[in-house]
C-alpha cells in the first residue's frame, strides 16, 4: 500500500518531464558519437541520426594518428591543470585580501579585477601577441597559461569572495586566539570550508579553457604546445572538410570533459548558488 503512494500523478508527470529533459540534454552527445562512425558522405543524408553502411572505427584511428591526439591531449591536460591550480590559489588569496583584510584600496582593487570579466578576448589578441613577442614568450607554455589564468581569475574571485563573506568571522578569530598564523588560517580553516565554491571555480576554469582556440591559435605556432582544438583543425580543408573524422576528434575531446563534469557536477549548482547569495 505504501509503495503505491509514491506514484502520484504529479510525480509521474514530473518523471516524464525530467526524462524528456534528460534525453534533450544527452542527445547532442549521442548525435556526435553516431556521426563519428559514419563516412563523410553519409553525414549529409536527411534524418537526424545516420545508419552507417559500415561502422567506421577507422575515423577514430585517423583522429588519433593524423590528429596528433595524444600529444595535444597531454598539452591540454597540462595547461588546464596548471591553470586550475593557479586560479584556485590566486582566487583564495585575493578573496581573503579583499574581504577579510582592512586596507584602503581593497574595494577598488576588487572592482578593477572583476571588471576583467567585461573584456572580450578578441580585443586583447593583438596587443598580447606583441607583448609576448617582445618578451620572447610566443610559442611557449606561458603564452597560454598567462591569459588562461588571467581570464579565469575575475570569475574565480567573484565566486570565492562571495562564498568567503558567508563564512562567520568568529571562526577565524577563534583560530587566531588559539595561536593560528595568517597562512594557517587560510590553509587549514578557510580552504576546507571553501570546498564547494572551489570545485565550482575549478570546473568553470577547466571547461572554459578546454575548448579555447582563439588565443591558442594566435600565440602558438609549432605543435609542441598545441592543445586539443587544433586536432579538429588538422582535418579542415580549404573548402570542404573531413567532417566524419572531425566528429571523432570532437567525441574524443569531449570525453575527458564529460568525465570531469560527471565526477564533480553535484558541487556545481551548490557552489554557484551559495556564492551568489552574498556575492
Amino acid at each position: 500500500m505504501e509503495k503505491k503512494r509514491h506514484f502520484t500523478p504529479g510525480k509521474i508527470v514530473m518523471w516524464i518531464i525530467l526524462a524528456v529533459f534528460a534525453v534533450i540534454q544527452i542527445f547532442p552527445l549521442i548525435w556526435l558519437v553516431n556521426h563519428s562512425l559514419a563516412n563523410n558522405n553519409e553525414m549529409f543524408t536527411s534524418g537526424i541520426l545516420v545508419m552507417p553502411e559500415t561502422i567506421r572505427w577507422d575515423n577514430y584511428v585517423t583522429a588519433f594518428v593524423d590528429g596528433h591526439f595524444l600529444l595535444y591531449l597531454r598539452n591540454s591536460l597540462l595547461v588546464n591543470i596548471l591553470a586550475v591550480v593557479l586560479v584556485l590559489l590566486f582566487s583564495v588569496m585575493m578573496a581573503f585580501a579583499c574581504t577579510r583584510m582592512h586596507w584602503k584600496l581593497s574595494g577598488v582593487v576588487m572592482g578593477l579585477i572583476l571588471m576583467g570579466m567585461m573584456i572580450p578576448i578578441h580585443a586583447t589578441l593583438l596587443p598580447n601577441y606583441i607583448i609576448y613577442d617582445k618578451l620572447r614568450l610566443t610559442d611557449t607554455l606561458w603564452a597560454l597559461l598567462i591569459p588562461y589564468v588571467a581570464f579565469s581569475l575575475p570569475q574565480g574571485l567573484f565566486l570565492t569572495s562571495g562564498f568567503m563573506r558567508s563564512i562567520p568571522k568568529e571562526i577565524e578569530e577563534a583560530a587566531v586566539i588559539d595561536g593560528c598564523g595568517i597562512y594557517r588560517v587560510i590553509g587549514v580553516i578557510i580552504f576546507p570550508m571553501l570546498k564547494t565554491s572551489l570545485v565550482t571555480v575549478a570546473i568553470m576554469t577547466f571547461l572554459n579553457n578546454w575548448n579555447e582556440f582563439m588565443m591558442a591559435m594566435t600565440y602558438l605556432s609549432s605543435p609542441t604546445w598545441k592543445t586539443l582544438p587544433f586536432s579538429v583543425l588538422e582535418f579542415t580543408g580549404i573548402y570542404a572538410s573531413n567532417y566524419a573524422v572531425q566528429f571523432a576528434v570532437m567525441a574524443l575531446t569531449a570525453a575527458p570533459m564529460v568525465i570531469v563534469y560527471l565526477c564533480l557536477s553535484k558541487y556545481i549548482t551548490e557552489g554557484v548558488a551559495m556564492g551568489a547569495v552574498k556575492g
Partner: protein
C-alpha cells in the same frame, strides 16, 4: 709534471674540437624554413600536394627542415596580422592575389620582391601573376587557376531526358523541369556568400565579357555601377533565386552541405569552382554519382554575350617574407615548389586542381571526364574574367558585397538598393 700532462691533454682536446668544427663547416649548415599555410588538412587535396613537395624537398636537401603551421582562412588572416605586427614572421606564407588582401600587405612591406626573370620559363599562364604584383613589382606566385562551372550529374540527366542547356533561358526552364521532377536543380553554397557574388560576376562577365575586371575596378573607385551588364546581371541572379533554381534555404547552406546535396543525388547540378573536380576521384562518393560528374560553362545569351568567356581567377599563392631570417632558402623552396613537374604535375595528376601554370603538358589521357572538360574549356576560352567583384575592393568592400548580395538573392533588397549600397563605399 702533472701540470704539463694537463696542458697536453687540453691542447689535444682543443685540436680535436677545431678539426670537428672544420668538418661541420664543410657540410651545409642546417636551415629551418617556417611555412605558414592556409591548408590545414595535410592529408588531402591541396594540403597533401603541398606536403608532398615539402617532403621531397627535405629529402633532396638533408640540411633543410620545413616546419609548417597551417590555419584555415579566417584564423589564418587574423594570425597573419599578428605575425606582421611582431618580429617572428614565417619565411614562406600563403597569400591571396586580390587587392582586398595583398595591397595592404605589400604597402606594409611584409613581402619580399621576386625577380620575374627567375620564373620566366615556369610556364605561368598569361595574367596569372598580375594579382600578385604592385607598382610593376612581383611579390608572389599564383597557385591555381580557378574556373567557376556548373557541375551536373550526367546519369540523372540521361535517365530523365534532360539536356545540357545552351542558353540562360534553357537553363531556367531546365531548373523548372528538375523542380517538377522533385529534385533540386542547382545546389548553391549561399551560406558562405562568396559563391553568390561569383554567380553575379559570372553573369556580368558573360553578358559583356570585354575587360570586365577593369570596368569593375573603375566602378568600385567611382561608385558608378550604371553599366547595363551590371544591372541586368543582378536582376538575373534575383530571378534565378526567386524561380527556385537553388535549393530552399540556400542562403544558410554551407559548403559541405551544398556539395553533398549534389554528391548524394539530391541535386542535379552544383555551382562551384574547378577545384571541386576532386569529387570525381573521391572514393567516399557513391560510384554511380562519382563516375557521372560532368560540368558545363553557365550559358548566357544576349547582344554582347560571349558564350566562351570564362569566369576564372588566380586566387591563392605564396610569397617569401621581407624580414625572413632565411630569405634565400625560402626563395629556393618557392622556386622548387613551382617547377612545373612539382605543383602543376602533382596537382593535375591527382585530380586536385588546375595550377596557374601550363598544365596541359601533363595530360596523360587518363584524366577524369570532368578534368578533360575543364581542360577544353580553358583552351577554348576567348575571355577570362579575372578576380571577381567582391575581391577587387578593400576588406570592408568584400564584407558589404557578401552581405548585400545574399540579401539581393533572397529578395530582401532590390537591385537598385544593392548597387546603391556598393556605390556608397566609393573612395573608402
Amino acid at each position: 709534471m702533472k701540470a704539463r700532462k694537463l696542458l697536453s691533454v687540453s691542447m689535444a682536446a682543443a685540436a680535436a674540437l677545431l678539426t670537428m668544427s672544420a668538418t661541420a663547416m664543410a657540410e651545409e649548415e642546417p636551415v629551418t624554413i617556417k611555412v605558414f599555410s592556409n591548408n590545414p588538412d595535410r592529408t588531402a587535396d591541396q594540403g597533401l600536394v603541398e606536403q608532398t613537395i615539402f617532403d621531397a624537398y627535405m629529402e633532396e636537401h638533408p640540411n633543410v627542415t620545413i616546419e609548417v603551421e597551417a590555419l584555415d582562412d579566417e584564423a589564418y588572416k587574423t594570425k597573419f596580422k599578428a605575425y606582421a605586427a611582431g618580429s617572428e614572421m614565417p619565411d614562406l606564407v600563403s597569400v591571396w592575389g586580390q587587392p582586398g588582401f595583398i595591397d595592404e600587405v605589400i604597402d606594409a612591406g611584409v613581402l619580399a620582391e621576386l625577380n620575374p626573370e627567375d620564373f620566366a620559363d615556369y610556364g605561368f599562364l598569361e595574367g596569372s601573376l598580375d594579382g600578385f604584383s604592385g607598382d610593376g613589382k612581383l611579390y608572389g606566385l599564383a597557385r591555381n587557376t580557378d574556373v567557376i562551372v556548373v557541375y551536373y550529374n550526367a546519369k540523372m540527366f540521361e535517365d530523365n531526358g534532360w539536356e545540357v542547356p545552351a542558353t540562360y533561358e534553357e537553363f531556367l526552364t531546365l531548373a523548372d523541369t528538375i523542380n517538377e521532377a522533385g529534385f533540386i536543380p542547382v545546389a548553391m553554397d549561399g551560406g558562405d556568400k562568396w559563391p553568390l557574388y561569383i554567380y553575379l560576376y559570372d553573369l556580368m562577365n558573360k553578358k559583356d565579357g570585354t575587360d570586365l575586371m577593369q570596368k569593375t575596378l573603375d566602378a568600385i573607385a567611382s561608385g558608378d555601377y550604371s553599366d547595363l551588364a551590371f544591372i541586368e546581371a543582378a536582376d538575373m541572379l534575383r530571378e534565378a533565386a526567386e524561380r527556385g533554381v537553388f535549393q530552399i534555404g540556400f542562403e544558410t547552406t554551407d559548403y559541405g552541405t551544398a556539395q553533398n546535396l549534389f554528391t548524394n543525388g539530391q541535386a542535379a547540378m552544383y555551382y562551384m569552382g574547378s577545384w571541386d573536380m576532386s569529387m570525381a576521384t573521391n572514393m567516399d562518393i557513391p560510384d554511380e554519382i562519382r563516375e557521372n560528374i560532368r560540368c558545363f560553362n553557365l550559358p548566357v545569351n544576349g547582344e554582347n554575350a560571349d558564350p566562351l568567356a570564362l569566369t576564372a581567377w588566380n586566387g591563392g599563392g605564396y610569397s617569401v617574407t621581407e624580414n625572413s631570417a632565411n630569405k634565400e632558402a625560402a626563395l629556393d623552396l618557392l622556386k622548387y615548389m613551382f617547377l612545373p613537374e612539382n605543383w602543376t604535375r602533382i596537382a593535375w595528376e591527382n585530380g586536385v586542381c588546375m595550377s596557374a601554370q601550363d598544365f596541359s603538358q601533363f595530360a596523360t589521357g587518363n584524366e577524369t571526364e570532368v578534368q578533360k572538360q575543364l581542360m577544353d574549356m580553358v583552351a577554348e576560352a576567348t575571355a577570362i574574367s579575372g578576380t571577381s567583384i567582391g575581391d577587387l575592393g578593400t576588406s570592408e568592400y568584400k564584407t558589404v558585397c557578401e552581405d548585400t548580395v545574399q540579401q539581393l538573392a533572397i529578395g530582401s533588397i532590390t537591385t537598385e538598393e544593392f548597387w546603391a549600397g556598393l556605390s556608397a563605399l566609393a573612395g573608402k
